[in-house]
């Protein structure tokens, strides 16, 4: 528990759980992109996943644990940071902080709310902007993303995820002390590619459906 009580320890837990969620996103988008192959493939992939009940539920529980610890640590550290600067500057001019680094907390809240909406929309089918049949994944996706406001919610959330990753996919290795010394420690070519690629791949799906490229 000393590990968890220390700021560095808590931050390391956030780094590890963040990477776990990043790995999930890569697998998630790889499956999602089957929407461009066709209804048969996507529905078959979904059915295949559901047959692997043990693997699926293990992954879901690991992810849930990752989300809960990530958010708990973030909340506790944010409160601590707020107390550490209880008097704000009249004037603070950031020199190197990016929009991404400064929006990690607000962006994190946006993402958390979106994940709940997303699960209710396409996993459980509780929210039904369009007709929903659990086994007809392709039809559910296409039906949902034909509606402009559903797409708008996804576009905003995916931008928030992209920004969150632009900072997180770079900083995690520094938090864990894995990065090697560099003359330009703020440069992040790999994180840039990862965040832009994931944002673009996820966004391409509602966009393609909204403009009628995928029907």
């Amino acid at each position: 528990m000393t590990f968890w009580r220390t700021t560095i320890g808590k931050k390391m837990v956030m780094a590890v759980t963040g990477v776990a969620m990043l790995v999930f996103l890569v697998l998630h988008v790889a499956g999602n992109l089957l929407v461009f192959v066709g209804a048969t493939k996507l529905d078959a992939y979904s059915a295949f996943l559901k047959q692997q009940a043990v693997v699926l539920w293990t992954a879901r529980l690991v992810l849930l644990a990752a989300v809960v610890t990530h958010v708990t640590a973030a909340y506790q550290l944010a409160r601590r940071d707020h107390a550490a600067r209880h008097t704000a500057y009249a004037d603070l001019d950031p020199q190197t902080a990016t929009i991404a680094s400064r929006s990690m907390r607000v962006g994190g809240i946006v993402i958390a709310v979106f994940v709940i909406f997303h699960l209710l929309h396409l996993s459980t089918g509780t929210l039904r902007p369009a007709p929903f049949v659990a086994t007809h994944v392709y039809a559910n996706v296409v039906g949902g993303f034909r509606i402009w406001w559903v797409c708008a919610i996804y576009f905003v959330a995916l931008a928030a995820i992209g920004l969150h990753l632009y900072h997180g996919a770079w900083s995690w290795s520094r938090t864990l002390g894995l990065s090697r010394p560099s003359a330009t420690p703020l440069h992040r070519p790999i994180a840039t590619v990862v965040s832009v690629a994931l944002w673009a791949a996820f966004t391409s799906i509602p966009l393609a459906i909204l403009v009628g490229f995928v029907r």
Binding site: T96, S101, H167, P181
Partner: protein, 250 residues
């Protein structure tokens, strides 16, 4: 040059503070920022007013005494210098400049622009030293240090403890200061015997002093008058996790 300053005035830690506007005339571009404040203070004193309190000592960028937020930037707009080495030529004629003390719960305001940085002393006291006798000058050459390690250690040892890293950090984190000390000693052979104990104790002390945590904005590195790299923080974290999980406690 004629300048208009908004300076934070606060009589002590318990009193509320406020910005006071001062018009400062006849400033030469060759004055340092502190000399410009000296000019202001002379005039305030002559007029029977209380001079603006600020810390300074060597005025050549090596002691770490001075430091203030100038227009929202720690040590002002010029990179890699302390406030004493910032000259008025970097401001334009008629500039309106806001001057604030470092703001952090762990750095309470003593008076005006003076803050209490003894939290740093306590972090050092927790482990920022070596207990072995290093002998006299000739003995220093008995222990060989790799050139790369010596260079990297000196790049961290250059920290003057001014507190700009804490001041500039949106979280008021002391990670760069603590990491610089840990890196400096951890890279040298003389620092090895206490390396595990040192990182655990200094990080514990840093947390206990009420500093925030590092979220990698990189602001500390930009504010540091000695340009110490945030790579030292990654190194501190590596040392800390190794000490926490893998090293036997002594």
């Amino acid at each position: 040059m004629n300048l208009s300053l908004d300076v934070w005035r606060q009589s002590d830690h318990h009193s509320p503070g406020r910005f006071v506007r001062y018009e400062v005339a006849d400033v030469t571009p060759d004055m340092s920022f502190l000399e410009m404040l000296d000019v202001l203070n002379e005039r305030l004193t002559m007029a029977g007013d209380e001079p603006v309190a600020f810390d300074s000592d060597c005025r050549e960028g090596i002691c770490g005494s001075c430091g203030m937020m100038i227009d929202g930037v720690a040590h002002g707009p010029l990179r890699a210098v302390a406030t004493c080495q910032l000259h008025m030529r970097h401001f334009r004629e008629g500039a309106k400049i806001r001057v604030e003390p470092w703001r952090a719960a762990a750095f309470p305001v003593v008076k005006d622009l003076v803050v209490d940085r003894s939290a740093f002393d306590r972090i050092i006291a927790a482990g920022g030293f070596i207990s072995t006798s290093t002998g006299s000058a000739p003995d220093a050459n008995d222990i060989l240090v790799r050139k790369e390690a010596a260079d990297a250690a000196m790049d961290a040892a250059i920290c003057i403890g001014c507190g700009a890293c804490v001041a500039a950090c949106p979280n008021a984190s002391a990670a760069l200061f603590t990491a610089a000390k840990i890196t400096h000693l951890g890279l040298l052979p003389q620092g090895q015997p206490e390396r595990t104990r040192r990182v655990l104790a200094m990080v514990k002390s840093m947390d206990e002093e009420g500093f925030g945590n590092c979220t990698w904005h990189g602001e500390c590195q930009a504010a540091c008058p000695k340009s110490i790299s945030i790579d030292t923080i990654a190194r501190m974290n590596r040392d800390w996790v190794r000490a926490s999980l893998f090293e036997p406690r002594d």
